[in-house]
Symmetry: C2
Subunit: 395 residues, 2 copies
Amino acid sequence: MSISVKGFKAASVSCGIKKSGRPDLSLIYSEVPAVASAVFTKNSVKAAPVLLSMKNSKNGCISAVVANSGNANAATGREGYKNAEKTASAVAAELPVRLGDVFVCSTGVIGVKLPVAKIIAGVKAAARRLRPEGLEEAARGIMTTDTFIKTAGAGLKLGGRKCGIFGMAKGSGMIHPDLATMLCFILTDVSISKQMLDAALRACVKESFNSITVDGDTSTNDTALCLANGMAGNKPVKSSGSGYNAFLKALSSVMVSLAKQIVRDGEGASKFLEIEVKGAADEKTARAAAMAIAKSLLVKTAAYGGDPNWGRVLSAVGNSGVKFREERIKIFFGGLKVVSGGTELKGFSEKKAHLALAEKEVRITVDLGAGKKSAKVWTCDLTEGYIKINAHYRT
Amino acid sequence: MSISVKGFKAASVSCGIKKSGRPDLSLIYSEVPAVASAVFTKNSVKAAPVLLSMKNSKNGCISAVVANSGNANAATGREGYKNAEKTASAVAAELPVRLGDVFVCSTGVIGVKLPVAKIIAGVKAAARRLRPEGLEEAARGIMTTDTFIKTAGAGLKLGGRKCGIFGMAKGSGMIHPDLATMLCFILTDVSISKQMLDAALRACVKESFNSITVDGDTSTNDTALCLANGMAGNKPVKSSGSGYNAFLKALSSVMVSLAKQIVRDGEGASKFLEIEVKGAADEKTARAAAMAIAKSLLVKTAAYGGDPNWGRVLSAVGNSGVKFREERIKIFFGGLKVVSGGTELKGFSEKKAHLALAEKEVRITVDLGAGKKSAKVWTCDLTEGYIKINAHYRT
């Protein structure tokens, strides 16, 4: 990654939560307190670290992030919350940060007591390893069923100053807006006000993590955090305008890249699916229809089998609650039109349609013929691999 | 089936829609016009026969039902509607019934032109085979991916008269309220007014077909029809009271049995799951929470693997939109309490919990600790079999 983001150090260690011995604790540190913006799961069951981090990020400033994988510290009661606090204390003991400026995350199995002694020892070890080149390593330490590291970067210039954005994410199952089962940490040296950072994060979440689904389940631990430490030295971004727009564009590219990586790594996925609904009267309609297609198990299994079963796509739109006129619908697999006027195109070639679906990256496009708005969402196919991974996750 | 239902005849034939040569056309005839009540799919894409049958059942009277399997006649445009009309005409040509009193159903692949010549020939052949003992055979003719025939019966006495109810249904994929991908025909010789039959059907649909889910998809063809021809000679049921209640109870037993059979035959299912949410402030809340659990792919795969991952159950409730206090939640697998106060019960035995989930019939119970209302829904586990069936359905 050629992107440089000033003032951040990171590391990961194996502290013994994962039986496999793989890295399971990551630490990120900003040399100066960073402006912080975060969005959290909308699941009403929120993990202990989510509750603590919601509280700690309220003042708008975070200096360190500690995240463990292999244990979600969710549904663990009061003791779980105390364990999240102990984790934060361990960080404050090792690094020159205020206790209230520590952001704590956990991801993994729900309902198992956090082995907090291991975590405290891990924090000590990680603090000693902290270094600017440690960001990739930190991305590895938050993985659970992920099969590859998810990072993305973008550079931008603000008033002549070179700035950078680096993002890391984890997640491959229990993925659905809002937010998707995931942790996402975005680090930037841009100087920006809390208000504008909040606005940018919210705008980008909508078109990235809230535009993906793997299995329709939203986890108890979902968190996306953006830290801006201002060390690029640009004139602070305090209002909308060209500087804000440049930041927004760069942030969006990082977050959309991470969101797509999560879907590509969807549990058991063999294919990446891009669903676009266009010709809608408004964007909300387009999004609802696209998400209904993306969520349909029948569409996802048809994509897996390369079966050009457009009827399932049409039926999913019919189930979306979206109003439309069937006789105006067009459906495309890749570039191939298969439905026009709500029914199979004359000369429909099953073979060609099958080939369009046989690709590793499949585009399904539905034109509602009712307007000019559109929306894109991303998902993956549903295969035996998903069943295998999730039928025996804990054992 | 020892249940006798006077005045109905039925038959099925193989008319050549299914390549396998299995029965694919069923005909049901009532010797006298029957009071008819029907509910239809809420998918906004409605198959041609659904549109025709909605129209024909409006007058409250049906004399014959014709249903083909192997082709849904959905998303087939104007020609599809004409083909449904031609099917009805074929029935009216063979039997002493009014054209407007024919109920037409189709089930199978969406978007393929109905081979109407085959259907017309099939109607002729089926009309010749009509007989009182043909009801089971008619149940076979509507099967698609079903692996067994689904029928249920109940007897009751009204004012000293012996009455019967016979029901048949098909469905195993694309199953979700409202209604479930299914066809269901219920035949009774009870004499009952249209108004009371409507009330009874609606009440029973809620606790039967709208309480099941297999894969969260609602088809374009779902239909449940109840025909009451009055040939039992009972004093007509025209208002609520003991006669209506006896009918309601018998109808409910038939419809719940059929609904459970559909779930038991869920595509790829290896287990039957009963999800009960109790301790809710109201029934709507209980139902929403139960359905959220039943729909969760993570719960369904955990059930398949016999993995007592109660965190997924709790997380699903958290995603249901239902308000509850986490610290009051109790969760049971079978009779075994695994969660109390929102967290794992002290002395939780992974082995015992695994055994509770290793059964073919699994009960998952959640007590919200917030009231006295409850709801039960039924579903099945999610296995590789579902993927296999649906990845290659058409090929």
